[in-house]
């Protein structure tokens, strides 16, 4: 099930919240677990058993590591086994087809294979489970003896299918004890409405412009149309994904959880390094914690740092999908980050802010071309058109038409991806000068936002989450 669906908003959510608030304290986790499994099963009626298997396996491994604690060898064997099994499951369901098709291209004979459907959210929950077993092994967290609580951690529906990737250590205490009250419920609602509006009103609408442009033939695409396409995609993926994270954070609050923020206005960054501190924070943090630092991070000299960065970024790319385009996308960032770090960081720092913004955005937009292209050939041609190679002139009527008929949308998206948008919204609702809150205004603004979202949702039959593929 997705958050931006009629079945979620008007059936699942109200019923779940009602149940959760009615039952006594000690039953709340049970309600949350059952509802989460139903939520997942609604979208994945078969793969829900795979997730339950993963929960059971990692739970038992946790217990094993605890009992083998005295014997360092056996504990190590446990953790290696756990990591191998988790990664193999992920590899089998996500990368098997990709791997075999690449092997077939190289080998003289063909290995027959059947492309499997990707279980929704498997990349997210596998990473969460690994954060648990690894931290148990490192003695960073206590082992979880309750299967119920561990099940809640992995399957909790607000963050189950598209993050944020919550590390077990962040949430350990909240699983035992958390405050569930009307205030947090209210706070959560505001987050949720904003996230829903970001997804349904902005992401889906710019998504339409993007699919129109990406469906065009290259010979009929002008340079500016190509850039508009990349910009539309940049907005689409940001509002889609950060909207989803906002909804997740909001829903988490409703159930008494606090998740870390996943996005921090990435498009305001003034270097690519900064961009990655602000984009999908929970993923970068995971790779840092469980790959980069264990590899030695930057403590083993320059050469080793560069290799480590390339490994991390190649994996980050691969995590996003089983395709060479994603690997290139990851390595592309790896190279830029290495350059920024060792070669032109000092130089970039001295540039005026506007130039730094521009530099960052151009690189990020080119990055998105790799990300949205079905194959590297397409990406190459698209980037070519962006720089005038094979393009239909610099600008044409098609570009102006798209701009003219969507300019309000682009302004909204622009405001929404900088701090300005939220600042204004907040100032409309709260008057900080005289300490007065504008209660009626707040109710009207947020209710209108929600109702408009419902109207958009009803009017379109299709609204995929981009991050579902991962």
């Amino acid at each position: 099930m997705v958050f931006s669906s009629v079945s979620f908003l008007f059936a699942f959510l109200p019923i779940t919240i009602l149940l959760y608030f009615v039952v006594p304290e000690k039953c709340k986790n049970i309600v949350l677990l059952i509802c989460s499994l139903l939520f997942y099963a609604w979208g994945e009626p078969v793969y829900v058993f795979l997730m339950m298997l993963s929960i059971g396996f990692n739970y038992v491994i946790g217990l094993n590591i605890e009992s083998d604690r005295k014997d360092a060898q056996r504990a190590k064997a446990d953790i290696i086994f756990a990591v191998v099994v988790n990664l193999s499951l992920l590899a089998f369901f996500k990368y098997y087809g990709f791997l075999v098709s690449n092997l077939n291209a190289v080998l003289p004979f063909d290995i027959p294979y059947r492309e499997l459907d990707l279980p929704i959210g498997i990349s997210f929950y596998t990473f969460q489970a690994m954060s648990y077993v690894i931290d148990v092994y490192r003695n960073k967290v206590k082992v979880q003896h309750s299967l119920l609580k561990f099940g809640v951690y992995i399957s909790m529906f607000p963050q189950l299918i598209a993050g944020p990737i919550v590390q077990y250590s962040d949430i350990e205490k909240q699983l035992e004890k958390r405050t569930v009250n009307m205030t947090k419920l209210g706070d959560g609602v505001l987050y949720f409405i904003r996230g829903l509006a970001k997804k349904v009103i902005i992401a889906n609408s710019v998504g339409l412009v993007f699919s129109k442009i990406s469906g065009m033939e290259f010979i009929s695409m002008s340079v500016l149309t190509a850039w508009l396409g990349a910009i539309s995609y940049a907005f689409q993926i940001y509002f889609d994904f950060s909207g989803y994270s906002d909804m997740a954070i909001g829903l988490g609050k409703m159930f008494g959880f606090e998740f870390m923020k996943n996005f921090d206005y990435p498009y305001t960054s003034r270097s690519v390094t900064e961009f990655w501190r602000r984009w999908h924070i929970s993923l970068s943090r995971w790779f840092r914690e469980y790959v980069y630092i264990p590899l030695g991070g930057n403590r083993k000299g320059k050469q080793r740092t560069i290799i480590n960065l390339l490994i991390v970024w190649g994996l980050t790319g691969l995590w996003h999908g089983a395709n060479w385009t994603f690997i290139c996308w990851g390595l592309y960032y790896g190279v830029i980050l290495i350059l920024e770090r060792f070669v032109f960081y000092k130089f970039v720092e001295r540039l005026p802010n506007a130039v730094r913004h521009l530099y960052t955005m151009v690189l990020v937009l080119i990055g998105w071309v790799f990300f949205f292209s079905p194959d590297l050939g397409y990406a190459g041609s698209y980037i070519g058109v962006m720089f005038g190679i094979g393009a239909k002139g610099l600008v044409d009527r098609q570009f102006w038409f798209l701009l003219l008929t969507n300019w309000v949308l682009y302004i909204l998206a622009g405001l929404g991806s900088t701090t300005v948008g939220f600042y204004w919204l907040d100032r409309i609702v709260y008057n900080y000068h005289n300490g007065q809150g504008r209660r009626e205004v707040a109710c009207v603004v947020y209710t209108a936002m929600f109702l408009i979202t419902v109207a958009y949702l009803i009017s379109e039959t299709f609204n995929p989450f981009l991050y579902f593929r991962f």
Binding site: L9, F10, M182, L404, Q436, G437, L451, V454
Partner: protein, 389 residues
């Protein structure tokens, strides 16, 4: 200082509480409304049938089709669905949007369907089949009209800066490729000459009867009918409340009401018997006035699209015409009734038989291909009916 901060925080919380109440109230009211309001079979304004509650079976659960259908059921049956759709369309319009589902909202609420670019292979197959048909039946004159659509004739009514493909070039290239064995009816020129009159509907993709009438006036040579008798026609309005398909599909101009005219020959009373062959139904009129009570008012012409219709007339003629057509022809055929003793109308999209059979069954003497450019360039059935493959 700390006091006021604390106070502000409290107020902020209070505000959040209020917003949350509004939110849950909206959800509650709408959710209950959805349960209470009875389900509808079809939506008139969207011109389609609505999803009904899916049946719960183990296999539907397993494959997830139940969940998908349930979501579209909830969405289709959402309380006051039309109001929500209108709201989102109006907001889009306010924000400058002028295109929805491939339909442009042009000047003065004129809805314009985007031009279809030909599918090269299907087009070549269709043209080859038409040429072969003409060559293998040299005694049967073949004529053809490809009618340009609104986007081509009324380019100036497109929204500012909007571009569409050049349909007239596509049409000319078809004219060139069919060669001399096919008598070409220049519909584009006829319509272009009357471009300031209401030759297309505002909310529908069809031409009006007036548009059809002008093309009919120019087709005498090709069809060989002007010399025999020259009948004149008078228009009668049969509806003033037509809101067409483009409006349903885009959500634009839902309040626009249009007139539908029929043209009746003056003087000699032509009687007809219309036989819907596959439906095994007969009528005594080429108009179906019951369609005027439905959303699909253009269906008043011939009662909509049927695979095969046999129209027998009392016209003083011995000629029998075979027409391959799409829905554009429906309002054109009434003009031909005074000139042919029998008109056999085939819609290859729905018809399963072959042209060869029709020629012998009905003793055909003339053939006409009548399409609008968009359907013709999308169609891949013509060659099938002509070659029998």
């Amino acid at each position: 200082m700390e006091e006021t901060q604390k106070k502000n925080r409290k107020r902020k919380l209070k505000i959040q509480g209020c917003v949350a109440m509004c939110f849950w109230a909206c959800i509650g009211i709408l959710a209950i409304g959805n349960v209470l309001v009875p389900n509808k079979k079809a939506s008139d304004s969207e011109n389609r049938s609505l999803t009904q509650r899916p049946r719960l079976t183990v296999s539907a659960l397993q494959t997830g089709t139940f969940m998908q259908q349930y979501e579209s059921y909830l969405s289709d049956q959402f309380v006051a669905r039309d109001v929500w759709v209108n709201l989102s369309v109006s907001l889009g319009k306010l924000a400058g949007n002028r295109e929805n589902n491939g339909i442009f909202l042009g000047k003065k609420n004129q809805l314009i369907e985007d031009v279809v670019t030909p599918d090269k292979e299907a087009l070549q197959a269709n043209l080859d089949a038409i040429n072969t048909f003409a060559q293998t039946n040299p005694d049967i004159p073949v004529s053809m009209a490809l009618v340009p659509t609104t986007a081509s004739i009324w380019k100036d009514k497109l929204p500012a800066l909007a571009t569409v493909a050049d349909q007239k070039t596509y049409i000319r290239s078809v004219q060139k490729k069919v060669g001399d064995q096919v008598a070409w009816i220049d519909a584009a020129a006829a319509l272009e000459a009357h471009r300031d009159e209401k030759i297309f509907y505002k909310t529908d993709h069809h031409w009006t009867s007036l548009g059809a009438y002008y093309v009919f006036q120019g087709c005498g040579d090709a069809l060989g009918i002007q010399s025999s008798t020259s009948t004149s026609f008078t228009p009668y309005a049969v509806s003033t409340s037509f809101n067409g398909v483009l409006s349903s599909e885009s959500g634009y101009a839902r309040n626009e009401k249009e007139e539908i005219d029929i043209y009746v020959p003056i003087g000699d009373d032509i009687e007809v018997i219309v036989n819907f062959v596959e439906e095994q139904k007969k009528r005594t009129s080429i108009y179906d006035s019951s369609k005027l009570e439905t959303k699909d008012q253009y269906g008043v012409f011939l009662g909509g699209n049927s695979p095969l219709i046999d129209i027998k007339t009392t016209a003083n003629s011995t000629r029998r015409l075979l027409v391959f057509k799409d829905s554009y022809a429906n309002c054109f055929l009434p003009f031909l009734t005074p000139y042919f003793r029998e008109i056999v109308v085939v819609d290859p999209r729905y018809y399963g038989g072959t042209a060869e059979d029709l020629l012998t069954t009905y003793n055909i003497t003339d053939t006409l291909f009548l399409y609008n450019a968009n359907t013709f360039f999308r169609d891949n059935n013509i060659s099938g009916v002509l070659t029998g493959e």
